[in-house]
């Protein structure tokens, strides 16, 4: 590996990590809005919230795949 290739590999790994972290953060934010009761009487998640969060995460993940396919089809897939 030349130094340039190594730098490029580092940059790519960094961007991949940032993408993952961002994906996670957006999933957390979206499912928080969808599932969590904002009255905050209690600091615990109740049963309904817990199962909503699980389903929400799975559905978000499915949406990532759909959008990825659409971007790929249009030739602007991110990778």
């Amino acid at each position: 590996m030349t130094p340039e290739q190594r730098d490029a590999a580092f940059a790519m790994a960094g961007q991949e990590m940032e993408y993952r972290v961002e994906l996670f953060n957006k999933l957390v934010g979206a499912c928080y809005e969808k599932c969590i009761d904002k009255k905050f009487k209690d600091g615990e998640l109740n049963v309904g919230e817990n199962s909503c969060v699980d389903r929400c995460a799975a559905k978000y993940w499915e949406s990532v795949a759909i959008v990825g396919q659409m971007l790929g089809a249009q030739g602007n897939a991110p990778s």
């Binding site: 389903r55 559905k59 959008v67």
Partner: protein, 95 residues
């Protein structure tokens, strides 16, 4: 950025600049990907009785994505025109 800006720079600087632009584009397209998912998911997915998307939610996410990309493509043409116009009129974009 106007590539002419790079005229007169040594070759290695041009290469560095091109690398910078490329890295920025990769980052932006990954960011756009994440934003698009967030946007279409939030608009389209409302029910959480099952852990897979309903047929109409799936369709909505897909149409939402298609429409956003078309909107974005059209806007990018307008953006280039407005940019070109203000270069002519004022010797530069509003900044």
């Amino acid at each position: 950025m106007d590539p002419a800006m790079l005229d007169g720079f040594p070759e290695e600087d041009k290469a560095k600049m091109m690398g910078m632009i490329e890295a920025m584009q990769t980052r932006d397209s990954l960011k756009m990907y994440n934003n698009l998912v967030e946007r279409c998911f939030s608009t389209c997915v409302q029910s959480f009785r099952r852990k897979t998307l309903e047929k109409d939610e799936e369709r909505c996410v897909s149409k939402c994505c298609e429409k956003f990309l078309k909107h974005s493509a059209r806007t990018s043409v307008r953006f280039a025109e407005l940019n070109a116009q203000s270069m002519q009129q004022m010797g530069g974009p509003p900044q």
